[in-house]
Symmetry: C2
Subunit: 471 residues, 2 copies
């Protein structure tokens, strides 16, 4: 007997169960539950998704016990339960294709403890990255993982987020020590410890990191922090071609210098950034490189970096040494997305994401650029090239059907090339709704079976974020 | 109806199934199967365990397809299947308390590929750490994770091993990109990619890392390598007390210097090392500190390290700068275990392992030393203090029953203190047989349920390494 998610969650008996669940939640949470279409629509999509799939109700819990209560109600009534943080996800993680209850975790925004001696803090899931770093300002410590958006820590854990500083500090997975999680049955568990490492049993922490709300709802996170180092150095340099830029990046990684960031922007992206941020940088494939450490070691790294990029044909290695210059350049990098959007007002945008072994990166980026140009699309490329991770920001006019189709075909090829090169269909954005078929392609049926068995074991009724990761 | 592992695997029908399995394996592997008591005894224990639990047969496969064949036979006949690498495990992981088939993976020792540009290699599971580093000698790269023993890479993956360089390079988990694994049903899957990072689905790689052969047999490993850096600096320094040594270590970690190793040896361990390695170091709580990087940055780190340790009362910070001096000191550190054993010929030894937040380390080590002295035991303490991880080498005369009991009681207290301090019952040795009750204490019933459900989902007949991790 087929049991599709639609049959399970969208029939008339499902509707009746949903009504019971909403009534129970309303009795308990009163004005912290809403079924208004405004609230539901607002919670029906993340940033990277056009179509809205609204939940049937939104609840705003303030404690883990409240999340546990919500999960118990949903478990009893077999109703979908979708976690929502800052809504910055790019792959549709937070939408509700089968309706159900959205848990908006933004009020769980307490920083519970900072243990400076252990370079560690404990936060509720709804704390945002920027909020945390403002709070830590006087401790000399910070949480360096930087996906661009001001995501919640819970959301970053759920999508296994990374970003510009992963080269140096690792991604979210490497910076989580322990979690508190509410399970599909409403039980609350803790996993991990405050110790730096452990060999005690299965690594439950790393199972929940990246599970996209399909195995549990992360309510509390113990994070590893890092000391803010004394000095920072920054180099920008343009190259004659993508290949030379990427080859320079590879050699920088191989040098063992442990640079903080190596970011790549192609000529189209540079043009957008110049216009948006009022800069006059060369409109060529460009690396933004940042180092951190003691003043001496930063000085040495900047010199060595210059040597390496010059040997790869860098046109104008420029080390911006004042904090103001540095801030201006990095602001331009961080605003690349908005700069691109500003080039085509009213157009839609698809932010793609693949990651390949760095030896394959020049080929992957060059082939993608050729594809884009051949299709006549406007689509800058940028990436965390030290990690082999790059994004194309595909822009298209929503009035032109063919544009969207051309992008889909091109993105398919981009992913096929990444997989053929030994890479992954997503370096940091996750699977969500949009990449479920790609996950199967990447993982193979054997690995997919293990993932489905795990999901089935921990969430037998499939109520946690149904339709995500798995089709 | 109770279904204990003994009932499942040790009745007469189990014996009959075992005989069928051995016959099928013998028909296939001929002289690469042995049921001789010498071979079975040899494979019935690791290093840290006295009692021998022999398997009923040992098989030496040479390919993944052969491991898969063995697993299929064991799955069909519901016979225990125990993976064996170098046999260096300290927690009884490789023994066969319910009999069954031991898969000796030592002939799967091929280094399949080295991708220098991606700082990566692909090895069969039976390759040892030292074999790999000899092979990599001319590439400028190495695999830095160093648990002391010359373990196999498969064994290090299975126990989530770490060691002296984890401070700088992370533990095994952070240095594995992809795995090939033979499952309980004989199927072979691959997980992970050659990309540096991925957000594609559940992190199967990190589930297998540390699963101690209870979820699958790792047959192939894609490892991250690291460039050998230009220079190395080493400082040894004695302190008046444990607390001063550990406080210095904490400040070194907090400095953000990214030192390579910070090792602690207490006064008892130093005495043993002096005698064994013919050194004349002060017999006081001592730190061995190593830095790596460019010549300039190592010089700078050594100077800064000296300042920090002096501020914490270091008696004689001594920077051994010649490679010979360095090698001599580190040999002494690496031989600490043998030095300790040499102090009490004929005695037995229990190597303990806990890990705590570093802020709690001085208390944990001091309380342990007091306990040891109060019990009149001979037991040096050493540790990877940069990680908060320490070991007591408990020595005892096998003729004295009370000694073993005193050690058990003391080790129980040591673990209880580690858990109360927010730490773990094992930083790097794993659960195996000996720490199953401690895992429950550390994890709580909720997390244990998740682990048991995962085991049940992936190995429903419980044939993979039965009796390990779970009681």
């Amino acid at each position: 007997m087929p049991d599709t998610l639609a049959e399970r969650f969208c029939g008339s008996s499902a509707r009746a169960r949903l009504d019971v669940a909403i009534a129970q939640l309303t009795a308990h949470f009163r004005d912290r539950v809403s079924t208004s279409s405004a609230h539901c629509e607002q919670h029906g999509r993340g940033e990277g998704q056009l179509r809205v799939y609204p939940p049937d109700a939104v609840v705003w819990p303030e404690t883990t016990a409240e999340v546990s209560f919500i999960a118990s109600v949903c478990a009893r009534e077999k109703v979908p339960l979708i976690a929502f943080g800052a809504g910055t996800s790019l792959e549709g993680h937070v939408c509700a294709p089968y309706g159900g209850i959205c848990v908006d975790l933004s009020r769980m925004n307490q920083i519970l403890a900072v243990h400076a001696e252990d370079a560690e803090c404990i936060v509720q899931c709804g704390v945002t990255r920027e909020q945390l770093n403002v709070h830590l300002r006087d401790t000399g410590l910070y949480f360096p993982v930087d996906p661009g958006a001001n995501a919640t820590i819970g959301g970053m854990v759920a999508t296994r987020a990374s970003g510009t500083t992963t080269l140096h500090y690792g991604a979210t997975a490497q910076n989580v020590r322990a979690l508190e999680v509410v399970l599909a049955n409403g039980n609350t568990i803790r996993c991990g410890t405050r110790a730096i490492k452990s060999s005690a049993g299965y690594d439950l922490v790393r199972i929940f990191v990246g599970s996209e709300g399909t195995l549990g709802i992360v309510t509390e996170v113990t994070l590893r922090l890092h000391p803010r180092l004394e000095a920072t150095g920054c180099i920008t340099c343009a190259f004659p071609s993508v290949r030379e830029a990427v080859d320079a990046a590879i050699e920088l990684v191989q040098s063992g210098m442990q640079l903080l960031r190596i970011e790549f922007l192609d000529e189209v992206q540079m043009r957008a950034c110049n216009l948006y941020s009022n800069l006059e940088l060369p409109e060529k494939p460009t690396l933004f490189i940042e180092s951190t450490g003691s003043a001496t070691s930063v000085g040495e790294q900047v010199e060595r970096t210059k040597e390496i990029v010059l040997a790869h044909g860098a046109l104008n290695p420029d080390s911006a040494t004042t904090p103001e210059q540095r801030a201006r350049l990095w602001r331009a990098r961080h605003q690349a997305y908005y700069a691109t959007r500003a080039m085509r007002p009213g157009w839609n945008c698809i932010t793609s994401d693949v990651c390949v072994p760095i030896s394959q990166l020049a080929d992957a980026v060059s082939a993608t650029r050729q594809d884009i140009d051949a299709a006549g699309l406007f689509a800058p490329i940028l990436g965390h090239v030290g990690d082999g991770n790059f994004h194309v920001i595909f822009m298209y006019d929503p009035a032109v059907d063919a544009a969207r189709q051309a992008i889909d075909a091109l993105y398919d090829r981009m992913i096929a090339r990444a997989l053929a090169a030994g890479g992954t269909c997503t370096g940091e954005h996750g699977i969500g709704l949009g990449k479920r078929a790609k996950l199967v392609e990447e993982s193979g049926e054997g690995a997919m079976t293990l993932m489905r068995q795990l999901k089935q074991a921990w969430d037998p009724d499939g109520i946690l974020n149904p339709g995500k990761i798995f089709e």
